[in-house]
């Protein structure tokens, strides 16, 4: 668009919640519904939906191990989803306040062949691979004990 000002609204959302995994559906569908409203194609909407779901599921499953449990009544987990849209880019930030992730996770972009070679009751480790596959940019910020923020950007096409 160059110097032409963009007169379309730049919506912004900040959703703080305490939830368990039953609420993954309303969370992922909220963000994908925002993307749909912004004119993303149904294919892109589906890709955004699964990436948001994976990031939120990770926050719920991995960020709060047993030692944190006591702080959260009734199995709820604190997380925050931020959504911003500007210049055809949807930025989604999923933040938790948990144990933080290792250096390994940050650089983790598991090869699909590793995944396929593993033999498990339920294969795991596809979440970050998937985010990198479906989003245009993914960054993970985390330090042990400080919680984790996954920032994902999708360009509308």
């Amino acid at each position: 668009m160059g110097n032409v000002p963009d007169n379309r609204p730049s919506p912004h959302f900040e959703l703080k919640c305490r939830v368990d995994s039953t609420m993954l559906r309303p969370l992922r569908e909220f963000v994908s519904n925002v993307a749909r409203t912004l004119g993303f194609s149904e294919k892109q909407v589906g890709e955004i939906e699964i990436c948001v779901d994976e990031a939120c599921a990770n926050a719920i499953e991995h960020a709060y191990p047993k030692t944190f449990e006591r702080e959260f009544a009734n199995g709820g987990r604190d997380l925050c989803i931020e959504v911003q849209y500007k210049n055809d880019e949807l930025v989604v930030r999923v933040r938790d306040y948990g144990c933080g992730a290792s250096e390994e996770m940050k650089s983790r972009l598991r090869d699909l062949n590793d995944y396929l070679a593993s033999d498990q009751e339920r294969y795991r480790g596809l979440g970050l691979y998937l985010m990198h596959k479906f989003m245009d940019r993914v960054t993970v910020q985390s330090s042990p004990g400080q919680g984790t923020t996954v920032e994902m950007t999708k360009v509308r096409k």
């Binding site: 995994s21 039953t22 993954l24 559906r25 992922r28 149904e42 294919k43 589906g46 890709e47 939906e49 699964i50 779901d53 994976e54 599921a57 719920i60 499953e61 699909l112 396929l116 033999d119 498990q120 009751e121 339920r122 294969y123 795991r124 596809l126 979440g127 691979y129 998937l130 596959k133 479906f134």
Partner: protein
Amino acid sequence: MKAFSFVSRELGDQKDAAMFDLRGYIDAHTVIEFERAVNASIDGGVKSLVLDLSGLSYISSAGIGAMMGLARKLSQRGGDLVLLSPTQKVFAILEGLGFTKIFKIASSETEALEKLNIKVS
């Protein structure tokens, strides 16, 4: 509107083949129910499974991982897994991740039975 449910039935003439008609979605929450259902079926002697995905609105990595584990388990027992008629949305996710080359996918029940080498009476 349940999050996840299924209907199962025997397939063809064999007693060790079954069809699961899946409804709703499989994510990190409902995957537990999905695994419970297919594992009970395997414990009951089923070796070959067709999962009808036409009523499945959504799947996340938890569901894909569970189906991968299921396919591995069935093949170890000499059986197989076939996915039937995924919706455009679920297909797009599987395809984007490369899983349409890994799973056996059929677009009709006849094709699914052929892929399992099951004869229809």
